[in-house]
């Protein structure tokens, strides 16, 4: 079938094409692609609907991709990568280009397909025993060479201890801009990457662009962007790339990777977080926060003040200098809500604040607030929940 209508230059007001009558002035209609129709098109009596524009939208442009660095540890893709892929898809759709991921590993045991399921159209895969674990020099070389070759418009990295070691090194090698810890990424009217990030300890938000250098590079912290649903039916292309690295090229050697036995504090993935701050007054009172958290099967968070006072370990800290979280429920107990704390938790679905000071800034971001003595409110809350 072809979509046609009677052309303006057709001398007739209607055309009879093998039994099908087309009237001038009507809109495009589907007709079978018969010899009569083809002849009328060739004569210029029929106008064909050009579907190129639609095609362009379906068929994404080759090259100039949006690239995500697919960090893996112990042969598992870091969660932040899936979050970034969701955002990368959004940007790539706006730019009408493909979403690509670059994966460095010793052997791909299905990780590429994971990346495709979460939004990658294309996975560039560098496999070599030397790339099993992250190593600054080897990873910088492989990713930089890939970027030089394929010239992506945008490259994004997770702001993890690996991403924050790798991305600046690459930026300096290929001489482009890099914006750290973006909380928002979008495309401007001119097709530039608009990078929003907190500055001055979260007191100010800055929008940053990289006009002339490519790729436009950003890092984003885990938990900042929402992960898309996994789509097991998605298909993508896996492109193997060279791993031109050898041990003798580097003056660095990773001797050991030590996993600490301590319980992992997983604030980024927590559904509920109960956080305590200065209002708790002393270390032993922090047990109140822990009791409530245990009851709600929640993770324990803390403000910088509580961490600095030594009441709880640093990996519990929420905020600009701690972790960025977005749980379904965030309960802030005795936290005044300094801007730097709010920067880390204001994207929570629901915030409940308990504080004796009604003017505490935490109430500005709270959905529900209780102004009162936490030493009365929290035990009462624990009682009520136990019922």
């Amino acid at each position: 079938m072809v979509k046609v209508k009677v052309a303006m230059q057709c001398p007739e007001t209607q055309l009879n094409l093998g039994g099908i009558v087309l009237i001038r002035g009507n809109d495009f209609e589907d007709v079978p692609n018969m010899p009569e129709v083809q002849q009328a098109i060739d004569n210029g009596y029929l106008e064909v609907l050009k579907e190129e524009k639609n095609l362009e939208k379906k068929e994404k442009k080759e090259g100039e991709e949006v690239l995500v660095f697919a960090e893996q540890r112990h042969n598992k893709i870091s969660r932040v990568v899936f979050e970034l892929l969701g955002k990368a898809r959004e940007l790539a759709d706006k730019l009408n280009v493909k979403t690509a991921a670059i994966l460095l590993t010793d052997k791909d045991s299905g990780l590429s397909q994971d990346l495709i399921n979460y939004g990658a159209d294309k996975v560039y895969l560098a496999e070599s025993p030397i790339l099993k674990n992250y190593q600054t020099d080897f990873y910088t070389k492989v990713v930089s060479e890939h970027i030089r070759k394929t010239k992506p418009q945008v490259a994004i990295y997770g702001a993890t201890h690996i991403g924050r070691d790798l991305a600046p090194r690459i930026a300096q090698r290929i001489n482009t801009g890099l914006t750290a810890d973006c909380t928002g990424l979008d495309i401007t009217e001119d097709g530039l990457l608009l990078q929003t990030r907190p500055a001055f300890g979260g007191n100010l938000m800055a929008q940053i662009i990289c006009k002339k250098h490519r790729p436009q590079m950003s890092t984003a912290r885990p938990g900042v962007f929402k992960m898309r649903e996994k789509d097991g039916s998605r298909k993508g292309e896996i492109v193997k790339i060279a791993a031109n690295v050898s041990e003798k090229d580097s003056k660095l050697k990773v001797l050991e990777i030590i996993k600490e036995a301590k319980k992992k504090v997983n604030l980024e993935e927590a559904k509920i977080i109960v956080s305590g701050g200065r209002g708790l007054g002393e270390k032993k009172n922090f047990s109140l926060v822990e009791d409530l958290a245990r009851l709600l099967k929640a993770e324990v968070g803390a403000s910088r003040a509580a961490v600095d006072s030594g009441w709880i370990a640093k990996d519990h800290q929420v905020g600009q200098t701690g972790k960025t979280v977005r749980p379904k429920l965030y309960i802030a107990i005795g936290i005044s809500g300094a801007i730097q704390h709010k920067a880390g938790m204001q994207n929570s679905d629901m915030v409940i604040a308990i504080n004796k000071d009604s003017s505490a800034p935490i109430f500005e971001v709270a959905d529900y607030g209780i102004v009162g003595d936490l030493f009365k409110v929290v035990p009462e809350l624990i009682n009520e929940l136990k019922k």
Partner: protein, 264 residues
């Protein structure tokens, strides 16, 4: 063992306030401090010097006031202090800053170890350290929580999210330090006296460090700030009113209603 430490003078972000009317930072009266992670790097350098002998040189890029942070470093026991101060540096992003600091380090020369703080509290980027390492083609180790010096090499514990890595690098190399690496004490009285009465802070310009002028400053920086604004406040929530028992009951019923918590 010649160590160069890079420090930054920063506004104390805990004390920064926003003018609610104009939405801009109130800079007046905000105290400046030596960036905390940088101070840990400095203390580590002095520790290493005391054990292995050598010299600690501290560099900072910034306005003339940054001399204060350098004087403080001298008081803690640094041997020399250099201030990179030139209008040509103004407005540099991390790429351009790394070019300037990298060029200065090349100019100073004769170093075994470069120590940086992990990140500065005003920008939180953690980028300049690795960028300087790349500029100088040196091996880098970021997030160092322990440094052990060997013969011509260094062994470092690099902090990770779930534990740490042990990395060995040949000297010279660049290391960025986290706050867990050491405890900061106080400068000695003698140190303070020396820092303010005897020692000098040398000022270097862009021309003196022979940096390509197309690699520094606002106009050469790949990134630029398009706009800045104060973070939008979330809509005012609801303050629950009543006795402690009443508000708690109300809260629990809301949580159950919204299916955030199940029945206990």
């Amino acid at each position: 063992m010649n160590i160069i430490v890079c420090i930054k003078q920063v506004p104390d972000t805990n004390e920064v306030k926003i003018d609610q009317k104009t939405g801009t930072l109130i800079r007046e009266g905000v105290p400046t401090i030596m960036n905390p992670d940088d101070k840990h790097a400095l203390i580590e350098a002095i520790k290493i010097k005391n054990k292995h002998k050598g010299k600690v040189t501290v560099i900072s890029m910034g306005p003339p006031q940054a001399e204060e942070a350098l004087r403080e470093s001298l008081a803690f026991g640094a041997d020399e202090a250099i201030l990179l101060c030139d209008r040509a540096f103004a407005g540099s992003d991390t790429w351009a800053t790394a070019n300037a600091i990298g060029a200065a380090i090349k100019h100073i020369g004769n170093y075994d170890l470069l120590l940086f703080g992990r990140q500065a509290i005003d920008g939180d980027t953690a980028q300049v350290g690795p960028q300087v390492a790349e500029f100088l083609s040196l091996p880098q180790i970021t997030y160092a929580q322990k440094i052990e010096l060997g013969e011509g090499k260094v062994k470092v514990e690099r902090q990770m999210e779930e534990g740490y890595e042990v990395i060995e690098a040949a000297l010279p190399c660049l290391i960025t330090c986290v706050s867990e690496i050491n405890e900061i004490g106080y400068p000695s009285l003698h140190g303070i006296k020396e820092a303010y009465r005897e020692k000098e802070v040398r000022v270097l310009s862009a021309e003196e460090i022979e940096v390509d002028k197309y690699k520094i400053g606002l106009l050469s920086s790949p990134t630029s700030v398009k706009k800045s604004f104060t973070p939008p406040a979330k809509g005012q929530g609801q303050i629950l009113k009543g006795s402690t028992k009443e508000v708690v009951e109300k809260l629990v019923s809301i949580l159950k209603e919204k299916e955030i918590i199940g029945a206990f």
